[in-house]
Amino acid sequence: MRQGEISLVGVLALFSMYLMWKSTELSVGYISGQGPGGGFWPFWLALGMLLSCLASAWKWWRAKSPFSQSDEPFLDSFGWRTLLHVGGSVVVFVALISVVSMYGAVAIFLFYYLRFLGRHSWFLTLTMSLLLPAGLFFFFEGVMLISMPQGMSFTQPVFDLLYDIIY
């Protein structure tokens, strides 16, 4: 945890410096007649971020924060597995939206999660993976009139059929 904290502080400090640099694309000072420039607000705030990072680093150096005194690993094996399987599946879910449509991605995600991570029965898995996207479709497209991404062109026939039903 000790290395973790200072690494995080380092990353956040670098990010703060990037933001400070990016803010200078617009004027950072006061333009007479127009008020503060566009970069004024984010620049000084990013500086505040950098100073807080330095304060946190100082605290770490003085071994004042609880994490700087801890030798525990950042994540144990369960933690890494959680991050990888759960976090990873969400990443794949979002990536699939552009390919098989939002509803298709929901179905695949639910199928993977319920069956492989949750170890639920085939019956429950299949029922939910098919019913929930269908329900969401009728709610969002039919009731709320909010259309979701349709993915690539091969899904078009399915959507044509579904639109015929609701309209």
Binding site: K22, G38, V91, G118, M144
Partner: protein
Amino acid sequence: MELLSFLADGILLSLQPLNLALIIIGVTVGLFIGAMPGLGAVNGVAILLPITFLVPPGSAIIFLSAIYYGAMYGGAISSVTLGIPGASTAVATTFDGRPLALKGRASLALVTAALASFVGGTVATVLLTLFTPILATTALSFGPPEIFALMLLAFATFVGLGGDDIPKTIFSICLGLVLAAVGFDTISGEPRLVLFEIEGFMRGIGFIVLAIGVYGIGEMLWTMEQTRGEVTTTNPKMTAKGLISDSKEAARRGWRGTMIGSAIGFFVGILPAAGATPGSLMSYGVAKMLSKKPEEYGNGSVDGVSAPESANNSASTGAMLPMLTLGIPGSPTTAILLGGMVIWGLVPGPRLFIEETEFVWGLIGSFYISNIVAVVINLACIPLFVWMLRMPFTILAPLIFVLSIIGGYAASRSIHDLWLIVVFGIAAFVMRKFDYPLAPAVLAIVLGPIAEPTLRQSLLLSSGDPMIFFTRPIAGPITVIAIILILLPALKYLRRKRSVA
């Protein structure tokens, strides 16, 4: 006394069969829409606006306001049961609502939210009834310096509360404010902070993206890792007796928060620039500050639920004031209501009260009725919401992920934002492991778009002189209080060192 007779007529008008039916339907629809993460009152009101052409204008606005009300109640439901704020107005409710649910007291949290919302809405409606003309003038005297001072106070209540790691809290607030600045600079019109030259950032980073990322994805990852996947919530059986005892407990433990929230919420709501969201966040901060047990906040304090919930209902009612009297909408939802009124031929402003008395008082009367209907329906549906929590976590978790992603898309209509949700979620998980508080960042990204323009306008008014925040009669005291609160932790630290030495 003429006022009371107008009000009585208004209430009778809203009790007419058509209007009453519209109130019941509107509140129920609003409740379910508000409960869905990513959807808020604005979605419901926008979609259902065309339907209102089928009914007289008075009934139409009663219907839309009922949806607005229902959504305010509904936002708390997903905050408590799923831990994802249903809308920005329900963010503060997650701070204590979610811990209560995890301790198996979800029904207490929901009952508290319902009752606090009812009290907040009623108090605000009464204040609206009595003080409309005077309040309109007060609201007008709040210029940019006053509003910026108020924003500063909101941030100060978060920093000065002590206990949390101060540098990390400040980092979080500044991060939120900078993220709010991404996109187009509203004053010069130039693109700003287009991070890593990714075009998607030109549209800015919406509050809902950060909120769903932090509270939907991040929170779930955190819960899973902390509880080793074994999340159990003890659920007492939901009976009428249980509901009554929860109500009594909510009243006993939550009355202070409710009072604070109703007052602050209404006051913030009547200001044109601010609405239910800053109102609920500030009420939470002030309630924590004034509490005898501030350490309970964040761990399941009943006041921590009642304060923001009463505030957001109170503020929504208050937000009607600038809309009706000045024609200035205080929020996207009131903007749509205003649009509807204009389409129906009703011109908002002082003359509205004189020329369309029946309409205005019918609307105000309907607030009372909507409030009552909303609390009844809400309480009746609580067993349903609690039942949702009994689902095994391995089913609830993917559902929450799905709702987060689909709700996020419904709100932002952009795949870029979905990726941002995932990035924020993972980053939130990592930062939370190291005790970085994320609530201030969420607060900051909501208040940033109000704070920055008002700061710049104020400095423009004063030609660059920052003393404007101290010299104006209303802004001055607010700014001073804010600065004291910000410096409070430093003063406490110095006092401690001196006493040790």
